[in-house]
């Protein structure tokens, strides 16, 4: 199949060049209009404004925002919410910030499974039945009210997707003003460090497909918390 595909590829590209009425391009063309308009790149909010705008957008989309002074307080808040919701099955990412917290002591009654490469459990199925997923967000974007999570052996895509409730911890200094600032982290990143999944999340899963009536939690989580630390 591969060789066939290569031959096909050549024909495909040649046809495009033919239709465009010129020989095939092999040099990278200059791209003078790359990215957002220049003025926009100068748009930058200060820290408090970024937190405020992120929070406003996240809430407008139907998410919850809690601001906490430190990671310990984030853990306490999550534990308290988990008890309130009667959560039993919890899944969390294997991230250093989360590993530094004593979850077992905060939630003695719950089962907390950690997502990592060596985990014995069928992680996907466990996540699909989990009440709460806990993750650190890599970045936040104030202007669109988004969190960014990436995948790896220690960070399942499922953790922010399959549980009914997702709790995402977002350190305040990771909130950018514009999306472009976050995209710059991926522009030109070497392949070996490139995650297979990059997910921008801007609120709870939703649909207006039935009579324009907004429904929350269609396939993804219906309840999403952003815990802003700092």
């Amino acid at each position: 199949m591969n060789e066939e595909s290569r031959i096909k590829q050549d024909r495909f590209m040649q046809r495009i060049a033919d239709r465009l009425g010129r020989p095939r391009l092999t040099e990278k063309p200059p791209h003078p209009h790359k990215g957002a308009p220049p003025d926009w790149r100068r748009f930058s909010l200060d820290r408090e404004e970024r937190i405020a705008l992120f929070s406003e957008n996240w809430q407008k989309a139907g998410g919850h925002v809690v601001r906490v002074p430190d990671l310990e307080a984030a853990k306490t808040y999550i534990a308290q919410k988990a008890k309130e919701l009667g959560a039993y099955a919890i899944i969390r990412q294997n991230q250093p910030e989360l590993n530094a917290l004593d979850w077992q002591q905060a939630l003695p009654e719950a089962e907390i499974v950690v997502w990592h490469s060596e985990q014995q459990k069928d992680l996907l199925r466990y996540a699909a039945g989990a009440d709460i997923g806990i993750t650190m967000a890599e970045y936040g974007i104030a202007y669109t009210g988004s969190l960014v999570c990436t995948s790896s052996g220690n960070q399942g895509r499922s953790v922010s997707l399959l549980p009914a409730v997702v709790m995402a911890i977002l350190p305040a200094e990771r909130i950018a003003t514009r999306m472009g600032e976050v995209l710059a982290h991926f522009d030109g990143r070497p392949r070996a460090q490139f995650p297979a999944g990059i997910h921008f999340i801007s609120g709870p899963s939703r649909s207006a497909d039935i009579e324009n009536d907004l429904t929350i939690g269609v396939h993804g989580p219906g309840v999403v918390f952003a815990l802003i630390v700092g």
Binding site: M1, S5, K8, Q9, R11, F12, M13, Q14, R15, I16, R19, L20, R24, L25, T26, H31, P32, H33, G35, A36, P37, D39, W40, A61, L124, T144, G145, S152, G153, R157, S158, L183, A184, F186, D187, R191, F194, P195, A196, G197, I198, H199, F200, I201, S202, S205, R206, S207, A208, D209, I210, E211, N212, D213, T215, G217, V218, H219, G220, P221
Partner: protein, 502 residues
């Protein structure tokens, strides 16, 4: 599958009601989306500058498509993606079947993709004994009803919740209440099983980023994420023009697409997928296939009047802006892509101007689609060119030729244009040629090979059409001054430069 004419009075009454519902629903939804877009574009500010930026990026990419597509493909391969090329819809379907056979697949879960509609992939899979499940809530509903989508963004726009409850109750084997939350809850549970069972996840592709070989998906429900997270094998179908050069460029598209489609700042999920799962990953597909589809697209390349069609980002804004679409809904267009973009794309993809029909003609004189388009595709001009091509190829009736001459006359005076916008000529013709419309609204040409739709009763359509005429009269009596000037310029240029499209 509903193909018979309604028989009893009750059935007819219900059908008539649902037709009224259809008209109201389309109107309501498109109004909601249009208003959302307006607010979102105003709120963002400098909308024109962004539109121009997006247009430049798309123009640049398409003008260098062989380079960027090649770059994308090489990077995707390096990421571990198996890349395939399909010249035609049939070839794409055959490739899909080959992959399904290779992995012994029994079921495929799909997230919404216009390309897969265009290629009739579901039919191919089903014929091969593979279950294909649409997982987008609206798509799932119309799949159960065995009907085509009627709107790019809201495919089940034409169904009310009583009809939906009826459909889903059959699936559930129990009576479900016509309550949105309950219905969506049922679908969540039902489809979750399907996700976990499925062998293959199938997606479309909103954008493909050349510099890293990534595909980008926009969605609100999370089903596209499910499809790319849970099954072992992923197949992504992609139109060959979906490319953007860099991640940096994605900011422009991500700003314009959701705002233009639904008025959202960003869809709930925007996912960049760069190859199958890494060796140490515990979710995501183990195998990822990408099928790059031409299916008539390269015909638009190098065509001075239609190349810009390839810039389309499938946002649906032109549908919501189009007074004709707002009143009749998508099914009347008789193709995968409806509204103004569908009216141009369909004959362009097929290179068959005879397909060009009256309903599409009716959308040719107001310019609202161009105004709405985030990448500034001159749809309106294209509609005019298509008409002209048809005249040149002698497809048109004498009456329509007169109409073409009339276009210049109409354009030359503001006031006359206002009068023409009352649609008298076109509408009357449509009313007279009732049979034609019925044929299109009923088992749809092009669609009836693949799907079955329920015919609308004549009478209610006629009434609906009269209402449409009245509404349009009320809505748009004057053309935007700028559009009028632009069209005038184009017209003069064309006259100076002679015709000759091919």
């Amino acid at each position: 599958m509903r193909s018979a004419e309604p028989r009893t009075v009750q059935e007819r009454a219900r059908q008539a009601l649902s037709d009224e519902f259809l008209r109201n629903a389309v109107k309501f939804t498109t109004e909601r989306l249009r208003a959302g877009k307006q607010t979102a574009s105003q709120e963002h500010g400098n909308w024109e500058e962004w539109r121009e930026r997006a247009r430049q990026i798309r123009l640049h990419t398409i003008a260098h498509l062989d380079y960027y597509l090649q770059e994308f493909v090489e990077n995707a391969r390096a990421n571990g993606v198996q890349v395939h090329f399909a010249d035609t819809a049939e070839e794409a379907a055959a490739l899909t079947m080959d992959i399904a056979k290779q992995c012994g697949a029994r079921s495929v879960v799909k997230s919404k993709s216009m390309v897969s509609e265009e290629l009739h992939i579901n039919q191919a899979l089903q014929a091969g004994g593979v279950e294909a499940v649409e997982t987008d809530l609206g798509e799932y509903i119309i799949q159960l009803a065995n009907e085509p989508p009627s709107h790019i963004i809201i495919p089940a726009i034409h169904k009310n919740r009583y009809q939906i409850a009826e459909l889903l109750s059959k699936e559930a084997g129990e009576e479900l209440p016509p309550d949105t939350t309950a219905l969506a809850g049922f679908v969540r549970r039902k489809l979750r099983e399907k996700f976990l069972e499925a062998d293959i996840g199938m997606t479309g592709c909103n954008f493909a980023i050349a510099e890293s070989g990534s595909i980008v998906l926009f969605e609100n429900e999370g089903n596209a994420r499910m499809v790319t997270t849970v099954p072992r094998t992923q197949i992504t179908l992609m139109g060959m023009e979906r490319i953007i050069p860099t991640w940096d460029d994605l900011e422009v598209m991500a700003t314009l697409l959701p705002r233009s489609a639904t008025g959202q700042k960003l869809t709930v999920y925007m996912s960049g997928i760069s190859g199958p799962r890494r060796a140490e990953d515990r979710d995501g597909p183990e195998q990822m296939h990408l099928i790059i589809v031409d299916n008539g697209r390269s015909l638009q390349l190098g065509d001075p009047h239609f190349q810009e069609l390839l810039n389309c980002i499938r946002c649906g804004a032109c549908l919501n802006a189009c007074p004709v679409y707002r009143h009749i809904g998508g099914h009347a267009y008789g193709s995968t892509y409806s509204g103004p973009i569908g009216a141009v794309l369909k004959p362009a993809l097929n290179k068959n101007v005879a397909e060009w029909d009256d309903i599409a003609n009716a959308s040719s004189l107001c310019g609202a689609c161009y105004e709405a388009c985030p990448v500034k595709i001159p749809l309106h001009d294209m509609l005019v060119y298509l008409r002209q091509r048809k005249v040149e190829q002698g497809v048109q009736s004498g009456e329509e030729k007169a109409g073409m001459k009339g276009f210049r006359y109409v354009m030359s005076s503001h006031k006359r244009y206002g009068r023409a916008l009352r649609w008298g000529r076109v509408m009357q013709k449509l009313l007279l040629r009732d049979g034609v419309i019925k044929a299109r609204i009923g088992p749809l040409k092009g669609w009836n090979q693949h799907r079955h739709t329920s015919p609308l009763p004549n009478k209610s359509f006629r009434e609906g059409w009269q209402a449409l005429e009245r509404d349009i009269q009320r809505e748009r009596t004057e053309m935007d001054e700028q559009i009028r000037e632009r069209l005038h310029r184009h017209l003069n240029e064309r006259e100076k430069g002679g015709v000759g499209d091919e």
